[in-house]
Symmetry: C2
Subunit: 284 residues, 2 copies
């Protein structure tokens, strides 16, 4: 990694999505029946992992969703009722190999979207899987529906060399992380950053900068990591959203990232882009 | 604008969205009945505009969707079957005042989402408007559904000082613009840029940089403008997506932006972030 800034977990190209094949039903059928074709193994609502954190692939007995190509080998998965239990997901992420993370993310979000979007939002009829699972179409009204990708801004606000981090009620004891919120219709990313920081912490910001992005498949977020400069360090915390929010100095952030026992907070885990934002800030 | 890079159309904070009021049914009712409360006027499926391009507001007779606050005045709109006819939308955008563009975008996307998402995608029953129009809930299964915001990457690829621009089949004669495509589940923004440029133009890129973002409310895109460096200028154009794609030199881009009669292409209109990307590239 020397010289290169750390990349968020879930980054990377993953499979060749071979999107032109999606519209070709004959080609998809031939791929599904192909000798080297594999299908993702699910276990208790999550992609199964080997002891060293790699995805498990098995012969394609029910190739419902076309994930893409790994060289000459086509990869599919089934529509699965995925787990949303954080107590199961988080240890799983700690084990997951970084190289397999983008495929994990695509399969998890796609499978989950199908289980929760079986019906046409336009007319209420049962819709059908088309394009290898990359959309659904309603046989009644013809409306086509696409998997959701929900952009979320997640941001470090800086004031006089200190960073604003907050605690959500469900966090483990001691954990502080970057503030975040969904981008709404009619907003730029920059406007969403400013709105969320004002809503949750009562601060006005300027100079919003993009830093990095990350898919976060629980269920279908696109995390957009940003940095902003706060006009003041006077906080007005929205206690319906946050337990607490505080300013941390550089050495406090460094101690937390190093996992020092007397660090003033527990840093977010490696799979979270919030950790990448902190690492990049410290390295800058 | 001196010294500041040009901002995309549809940028800016718009109204104070006052999101904490959305969950407070009593407060919303009081606002809806308030003396200074106004409602957006629709005309033929688009927000009505004055001769100088400002939104038209009228007394709130049917305050269905809470857009936010303008100072002390609450602003609502009705659920409207909006127009998707580009021949109507584009002249409208040319007239729309930049200061009103973010509110136009929010109202248009929100109204359109309600008309196409009346039914619960999880179970097919008719759902109900809640939270001042910022979500819908199913009375049968309890599922809550949020307005879609669909991230799209739109990018300039550069090679040896020249920019790659393409023509979609529906463009007006002579128009070339930045290539674009929807971000998919399991992708970073950077991965989406690389995938789209390879799919549509056959080029591999590195050093993907974020430039600016823009809501594009037809119906609910979030345009994420990027710049990438191409490894080669050898194109392999996907003719199902593009009529053509070509490399343009700096002076050709400058001529197009200046609207010179002998420019080699017609630049995208002021409302498009593609134009902002070209302006910033030229100014850099």
């Amino acid at each position: 990694m020397t010289g290169l800034p750390p990349e968020p977990f879930f980054s990377g190209p993953g499979l060749d999505r071979a999107d032109t094949l999606r519209g070709d039903a004959g080609a998809l059928q031939a791929l599904a029946a192909g000798a080297g074709t594999l299908q993702l193994k699910w276990r208790e609502g999550l992609p199964a992992l080997t002891a060293d954190g790699r995805l498990v692939w098995e012969p394609a007995s029910n190739p419902e969703l076309f994930l893409g190509l790994d060289g000459q080998s086509a990869r599919f998965c089934t529509i699965e009722e995925v787990s949303a239990d954080a107590r199961a997901v988080l240890p799983h992420l700690a084990l997951l190999h970084a190289d397999d993370a983008p495929v994990f993310a695509a399969a998890f979000s796609l499978a989950r979207w199908h289980t929760r979007h079986r019906f046409c939002a336009n007319c209420g009829q049962l819709s059908q899987v088309i394009r290898g699972g990359w959309s659904r179409q309603c046989p009644e009204c013809g409306a086509e529906h696409y998997p959701r990708v929900d952009p979320v801004v997640i941001m470090l606000a800086e004031h006089d060399g200190r960073l604003l981090l907050g605690r959500q009620p469900h966090y483990p004891a001691g954990r502080y992380s970057a503030l975040a919120g969904f981008v709404e219709v009619g907003e730029t990313l920059e406007a969403a950053v400013a709105r969320e920081l004002f809503e949750e912490a009562g601060i006005r910001v300027r100079d919003v900068r993009y830093v990095a992005s990350q898919p976060w498949p629980f269920p279908s977020s696109l995390m957009v990591g940003c940095h902003a400069t706060a006009e003041s360090d006077q906080l007005r915390i929205d206690t319906t959203e946050l337990d607490d929010a505080r300013w941390f100095a550089r050495e406090e952030v460094a101690a937390a990232l190093a996992g020092e026992p007397d660090a003033p907070f527990q840093a977010p885990p490696k799979a979270a882009i919030a950790r990448t934002l902190l690492e990049r800030w410290l390295g800058a």
